[in-house]
Assembly symmetry: C2
Homo-oligomer: 99 residues x 2
């Protein structure tokens, strides 16, 4: 298995509606991209006094090639361009073998 | 379930031995902290041209209280102080409900 993790921080002026639209859009990706084996999304619980990101994506694939299909998939790229990039303040990511 | 995700970036002058010591130390935590339900660690595969972090931790717990036990556990805190903090350049984290 191959895992992709992304942690996103939203701009201060992003609205709850914009953040909710990202979550709703990402939730539809497993139906559009069958290469996704497991997909978990989460909004930060607010435990940390400071420094946490706002949103997490953990996506598992059979292998790195399947991850690349997801990464470059037009439905995914459209969602990034329309909903994520306009409110994205920072992004951290790792891809790694899951074995 | 409750999930904790941390993505770490190492300092440019950190050595392979220092990075390996972090991985080895973290791998021992599930034995020391029974509240950990699932624990995956990974070194970034180097796919991204730039901007990725170097190391990922995904830890799952029964609930937020179990996560706090892990976060504050003396074995964990000792590992952070001795092995992680000396080579830590940046950290991103999210904690979220997994449901």
């Amino acid at each position: 298995m191959f895992r992709h993790i992304a942690l996103l921080r939203w701009t201060d002026d992003s609205t709850p509606e914009q953040r909710a639209a990202v979550l709703a859009g990402l939730r539809e990706l497993p139906d559009a991209i069958p290469e996704i084996r497991n997909y978990t999304l989460g909004v930060d619980a607010g435990l940390a006094a400071e420094g946490n990101s706002d949103f997490a994506i953990v996506a598992d694939f059979d292998d790195v090639d399947a991850y690349v299909v997801y990464r470059d998939h037009p439905v995914h790229q459209d969602l990034i361009a329309r909903l994520i990039r306009p409110i994205l303040a920072a992004r951290a990511a790792v891809q790694h073998d899951l074995s």
